[in-house]
Amino acid sequence: MPKPPAVVPPVATLSGIKSSDVFSRLVDTVSDYAIFVLDPRGNISSWNPGAQKLKGYSAAEIIGKHFSVFYTAADLAKDKPGYELAAASKVGRFEDEGWRVRKDGSRFWANVVITRLLDDEGGLIGFGKITRDLSERRLSETRYRLLIDGITDYAIFSLDATGHVTSWNSGAQRIKGYTPDEIIGKHFSAFYPDEDRKAGFPETVLHTAEKEGHFEGEGWRVRKDGSKFWANVVVTALRDEEGTLTGFSKITRDLTDRKLLLDELKRHAAELELRVRERDQSNAELEAFAYSVSHDLRAPLRAISGFADALREECAQQLDQSGLDYVKEISDASRRMNNLVQDLIEYGRVGRISAPLASVNLLNAINEATRQLGEVPAGSLKVDVRADLFVCAHPQMLTQVIYNLLSNALKFHKKDSVPQVCASAEEHDGVVRLNVRDNGIGIAPEHQERIWNVFERLHDRETYAGTGIGLAIVKRAADRMEGSSGVISQPGDGSTFWIELPRGPAK
């Protein structure tokens, strides 16, 4: 095969060969396109290697035959070949895509261009025909179309530049209820509720997509039967190579279920908010209750205690030993009741405090708590905490917690032994842990859960006094301060109570 000459004018300079010969040689080298010439009646008068490769006929077999042999029976029935030649001779050019038949009877998807050939006087001398095999492209387009058609969860369809439906997939049919026949050619504003249509919303959608390339939104749309669904819609402008708007693609999803779910969630949220408001109100009532408890309940207590004291002081001579014992019982009972009321108020207060947490120096809080403890047996309390440790806490609450832990640790010592209590702290992963270790009686594992409950006591009052609220306050306060509390203990082996709080920034 001769080397393909470079197609550069002036062709006449190429080895003195006539230009018409150069072109025929060029055509002869093209193997990807079938390029051949028909006479005015449609009989084949030339044949290139591309034509042979594509259609299977050799030049000898096909020259002189009518080009209608390349058409399918269906096209022949419509006299498509005759129509195409007539069209080409009338307007100069005819282009088409469609099925064509090879020599062996197999089909291929062809792009066909038929060009009218005229002589110098304008008389028809024949047609040039260029055929390309687009089977591959056709296949991928078919796959693509089948893919889109097969999608039922999304309505995928196209609109022309003015908004009329030009294609319709099965998802569109499922979601909107129209068959392709019913909707193709109709304007897409049919999918919008009346009020949106009157407000010009469909036009706004197309306008936005045209201007910005893209429109996305959610809203109510209308099915064929008039029912509404909540749609997520994406509209994309389609442009040809020159940038001219050719139409729009539109993808619509039915999100009614999600919308209803979201609405329900919103309703629940609103209800929750209402409940919270109601709770805030009942908290306020509780606050008023606690206030009146602290104020009114303690007044008779003061009277009982005060007059018991007065009785002992002023009437001691008139009382015998058992009378004095009874007075002492009254005094002790009123003191216990007073402690109970005070602890309960504190427990309630800890649950309600909503003051913001601050960075509190742990050692300062421990020192304040020990100051409140007052006198302790010499050498019984050791504090081993760095001065530069800060925790996120409510200052008074923290002091109360430490006070409770220390007084507990000092209280529950073994009979006839001096308490040894050590407060130490460690820091890990942004959390500060305060340990309060004692050498006391310890707590059996089965009791270690219970001790944190209100009014929970493990001992009779005569052995260890107390209200049974102290640890409940510790737990509640630690929870309120976004921390935690716990105990490690063995009976007879002492206990280590701990609280953990988020580390605070140094001040």
């Binding site: 007044a299 008779p300 003061r302 007059f307 004291d309």
Partner: protein, 152 residues
């Protein structure tokens, strides 16, 4: 030496009796007047009605005020008192109440209380309070004038 008049506003008769008993244990030097509600307190201080008779109802040198009172609360009495411009507004006021609520404590000081005491739980503590009160407020403390004199 004339007795220093102390005005106590306390509605609870039991509390009053206990307070009275504690104060009576001290050697005298003061005279205690008792009222049982907030309206009376305002009338007394303003010298309205029977209280015009300052011979029988002398102007107190110091006011011991409960917070939870019938008709007009201790807060309202305090508020009224500090609003006066006659010099009466300078009267030292000591809150004596059973509330330990920080909101009450802060509000009392905001309104101009000079001290805030919580009623003790036992007779012994109450006697201690009475003794300290007398030492500090009646012996050490200097009293202001309750007449419209300009501070120089």
């Amino acid at each position: 030496m004339p007795l220093t008049p102390v005005l106590l506003v306390e509605d609870d008769p039991t509390d009053f009796r206990l307070i009275q008993r504690a104060f009576n244990k001290l050697s005298n030097g003061f005279q205690m007047f008792r009222l049982t509600n907030g309206d009376e307190a305002v009338e007394y201080l303003a010298g309205d009605g029977p209280y015009e008779n300052r011979g029988a109802y002398p102007m107190p040198a110091i006011l011991l005020l409960d917070l939870k009172l019938p008709r007009r609360s201790g807060f309202e009495v305090l508020e009224w008192l500090r609003r006066q411009v006659s010099g009466l507004n300078r009267l030292p006021v000591i809150i004596l109440t059973s509330s330990r609520h920080s909101t009450d404590i802060n509000r009392a000081y905001d309104l101009g209380a000079n001290s805030y005491l919580v009623k003790p739980d036992t007779g012994a503590q109450l006697e201690e309070l009475a003794a300290q009160f007398r030492t500090y407020w009646l012996r050490m403390n200097e009293f202001p004038s309750l007449r419209p004199e300009i501070a120089r």
